[in-house]
Amino acid sequence: MAHIVLPSVLSAEAGGRKSFEVYGETVGDALRALPIADLLFDERGEWNRWLNVYVDGIDARERGGQECPLAETREIRILAHIAGG
């Protein structure tokens, strides 16, 4: 099980919840289980290029993107690349 932390704009879309506990074999599985999944994936199922997903502090793109395995993962943090400027 992984703990997913949302940035505030997404938290507002999730009814104010800042985090979720999710199961899944991959990061993609975990994100698709969120109630705001439609905002993370485009209509072809790809991540927006400005969407950064960190798996225990490591950019998921360095570990296969959506296919990044979750086995020992404790935390997934979603960060919009534009945050901060």
Partner: protein
């Protein structure tokens, strides 16, 4: 009623209140989280997000932005229309929960000649003929105006007489750069448009256009246009310097009004700053029986009072993307 900010963090390109049932609809976009369509039945306190917008995979395109939400006719209470980028029109028949793309626009035979403008290939204007239920119009940046007379099955370019100075061959059927299109509600065959290349009026449902900005308007370029529902001969525009310089010509921020179908224009600048380089976006103006209204990119909101003086009703807002007017219950 919610005080706001509502949909914080989202770029609300257009929001409107559906006069049929009071629902607020919003085209809300985010650079990371994409295009969305929202609706609220409680004055903005809570919002529902439509099912994700999508285009057929065989089109090779994806939806880049939601631009304009247009409630349908009174006799089709669950129908709404949505204009978006890349030059797409959607229709909903379930109050905005799901949206289906219009194939006639998506697969239009002239699409290859449509050029992407600075704001993308945006379908920003949707006008419904209030008398003929099978007739409607769309305005698409750098593609032009299209009319359907069969309920949206087929669409015909209606750009005859409008300039296309930005194209190497200005004598073209499509590619004209309409910035905003409005139909006069009391005389539906009369259309007005602010174009990249002038202000135009049509008295025959877009079959032909007469250019009317040569009589006093200081620039051909601008985005919004406003009307007077009681008088089809009245229109208001807010000129900008040029397509390269999106601010008031010579620092003289003014609205220009015609009351004679574009024969003459008068400057309305009482109440506006003496020196200002303002810009007003295409969705950032509105009109009703009482007045005309607009908001600037510098966050000021103006209303014209009955002495033709502009009243700055709000200031220090973020850039104003969209203005609509409605009766708001207190």
């Amino acid at each position: 009623m919610a005080e706001g900010p509502l949909l914080a963090g989202w770029g609300v390109y257009h929001a409107t209140v559906d006069a049929r049932d009071g629902t607020i609809h919003a085209a809300a976009n985010h650079i990371v989280y994409g295009p969305t369509v929202r609706r609220s039945i409680d004055g903005g306190l809570t919002w529902e997000r439509s099912r994700k917008l999508s285009l057929p995979s065989d089109s090779g395109m994806t939806v880049n932005a939601a631009w304009h939400v247009q409630p349908g006719r009174p006799e089709e209470p669950d129908t709404l229309y949505l204009g978006g980028d890349p030059a797409v029109l959607f229709r909903s028949d379930d109050g905005g929960e799901t949206w289906e793309v219009n194939r006639g626009i998506l697969e239009h035979p002239t699409r290859r000649a449509w050029l992407e403008g600075a704001g993308g290939l945006c379908c920003h204007s949707i006008q419904l003929d209030p008398i003929d239920p099978s007739r409607m119009y769309v305005g698409i940046t750098s593609a032009g105006i299209f009319r359907t007379d069969d309920g949206g099955e087929t669409w015909h370019p209606r750009n005859a007489g409008t300039a296309a100075d930005h194209l190497p061959d200005p004598d073209v059927e499509v590619g004209q750069c309409v910035h905003k299109l409005l139909l006069h509600p009391a005389r539906p065959e009369r259309l007005w448009q602010q174009n990249h290349c002038g202000v135009y009026r049509s008295d025959d449902a877009g079959d032909s256009w007469e250019r009317v900005d040569g009589n006093g308007v200081p620039s051909q370029f601008g985005f919004p246009i406003m009307l007077d529902p009681r008088d089809p001969d009245t229109a208001f525009v807010i000129p900008e310097e040029s397509y390269e310089y999106h601010y008031s010509p010579a620092g003289r921020f003014a609205v220009w009004r015609t009351t004679d179908s574009g024969e003459t224009w008068q400057q309305l600048n009482d109440g506006l700053p003496d020196r200002a380089w303002a810009a007003v976006l295409r969705e950032a103006s509105a009109y009703d029986e009482r007045s005309v209204y607009f908001g600037t990119q510098s966050g000021s909101f103006f209303v014209l009072d009955d002495r033709d003086v502009w009243v700055e009703a709000a200031r220090h807002l973020p850039p104003i993307l969209s203005v609509e007017v409605t009766e708001w219950p207190i």
